[in-house]
Symmetry: C2
């Protein structure tokens, strides 16, 4: 089968030693990817964007057609002038991390209203606001739910600001996004379409599927799947592929994140096929996200062949999602 | 302060190399402990009980006054004859593990009604039925709730059978036990009085506080604390101290269990003191459990002194509960 080359509208490519290995996986499957800015140090300014983009481009294998869609972190100290500069340098979105809710989110936002001038500037510049939708301080399973009133308020006050609720995990979040205007969308990850909290803590503890927001109940996953295969343009792929070295997972203080980049398309094809929704896949992976971001659709096709393969235990020191499992579909190498 | 020497009515002493180290911690604080039978191989028969008890007694330091209260595993193949033999050899309780819900529970019970002849025999022999109260196959956070109807049915059908719902974790379970007759009690662990699910998955992942049943919501913990300090004889200490080597915790497939034995009494004193309930502590640790099991109260006192200490990072290869934290109360060594 063929699939228009895809956009992953939420990916962590990391930096330093990790970047080359991670990038190699993403460019095999994606024509574009929205690159998260929560590196250390973070991507905050136009200069940071330019430097981070260059470090990515420098590692692209010759002849590979891949475009990183750059983002910046929206922090309490972000200024309106910076927003203009960020737009000018080609950033497409700002990512807002509430304080302390995930990897490298320390010093994040606690007062969402204080950033109204920034949302205003982003609206004027046509930048997308990407939200890690979890309320700091709330009980883990309630954090997404408690954040939805923040989403609703920003959406109501900035009707022309494009807003993405990233990695939705609950039925409640899906219903909330459905009910909001066309300026609000949500990304769905591959892993949240596959797992529930039981995969993390229901048997033995599995640190490799531990992520933020943590996976929720089976009923929630069912609603996420229904949204992904619905053909509703508000829901599109953002994998939140987030690699951590095995030693940062299998330890006393495990990092949050699931590394889905190496299995992205094969896992999605298998899931959509299982639900009799293969005809809807391309919209989810290659159309709705591009349309929401105002980008042209990607040229060229990904060729998938029915060729079983077993997901390796490790890529460059990171254990990928579905490792050890046999997948039906393979991406045909050019 | 002084405290009548205590009974830990639910403890895992392990076997082989682990037994000596674990036992040494428990005998420092407990006069008696109900020793769980989910070793590998399991404690199923009178012969197993005799052998396991002997292996414990063989490791007791000279002069230490400690009595292991022996249990056996209630499995689908348990017979009425075995129950009589188990009673005769001095076992005090049978522990029922639903299939697959925790460490070494594979091949456990799925048909709770099929064991009615066994419950009948245990009732006649005056043996206590200890239940790991989680329903196999249910979503992890619902397993205890879904098991309560099983508890209610057994309690109704065997009004003279003493039943303990082990390691209660939810407000719903506490209310259920409160509403049942005097033949039903529940143990409470130290860790479930301290932590919630957020301590496991709310920040980074902490495998050392991962256990079954997994800790629940803050509202649940509040009800557990209220039950512990209530002076209601239905609720007493059963620590479920369950040591696993650090390598079995910090790995891709983390074992369930929290090792509370080294901090048992100091952690309880601190908690009861914080809640202004020190006067209720001795009943919780040293009276209600003994009374329920029909045992005389322990002789002798544990002397506690206000002497701060920091919980070590490790005891014999196992990371204890509250490691690295400073506790106010110390047990005075004889």
């Amino acid at each position: 089968m063929q699939l228009r080359r895809i956009d992953d509208m939420h990916v962590h490519l990391r930096q330093g030693d990790m970047l080359a290995g991670v990038l190699a996986q993403t460019v095999k499957q994606c024509a574009r990817a929205l690159v998260m800015p929560n590196t250390s140090p973070a991507v905050l300014t136009a200069e940071d964007v330019v430097n981070y983009r260059q470090s990515i481009l420098d590692l692209l294998p010759v002849g590979v057609d891949f475009k990183p869609l750059m983002t910046f972190k929206v922090v309490p100290s972000t200024t309106v002038l910076q927003i203009k500069e960020l737009k000018a340098c080609g950033a497409v979105a700002g990512k807002l991390y509430p304080d302390g809710v995930t990897t490298n989110s320390q010093g994040g936002v606690t007062d969402f209203k204080a950033l109204y001038p920034i949302y205003q500037a982003m609206q004027e510049e046509g930048l997308v606001l990407c939200l890690h939708g979890e309320m700091p301080g709330a009980f883990s399973l309630d954090r997404e739910s408690k954040f939805l009133s923040v989403l609703q308020a920003i959406a109501a006050d900035f009707p022309d600001l494009k807003i993405v609720l990233e990695h939705a995990t609950t039925a409640e979040a899906i219903q909330c996004v459905q009910a909001l205007g066309p300026n609000v969308a949500a990304t769905l990850t591959v892993h949240h379409l596959y797992i529930t909290l039981d995969d993390v803590i229901g048997g033995n503890l599995n640190p490799h599927v531990f992520c933020k927001p943590v996976a929720k109940r089976p009923e929630d996953r069912d609603v996420l799947i229904a949204a992904a295969i619905s053909g509703n343009a508000k829901f599109f792929l953002g994998s939140d592929s987030a690699p951590h070295h095995i030693s940062a997972k299998e330890c006393a203080c495990g990092a949050a994140g699931v590394y889905t980049a190496p299995v992205l398309v094969p896992a999605l094809v298998e899931l959509f096929e299982k639900h009799g929704a293969l005809a809807k896949l391309e919209r989810f992976t290659s159309e709705f996200g591009a349309n929401f971001y105002g980008l042209p659709l990607n040229e060229g096709m990904l060729i998938l062949e029915e060729k079983h393969w077993t997901v390796p235990d490790e890529y460059h020191g990171v254990k990928p999602f579905l490792s050890g499992l046999n997948l039906k579909w393979s991406i045909k190498e050019n």
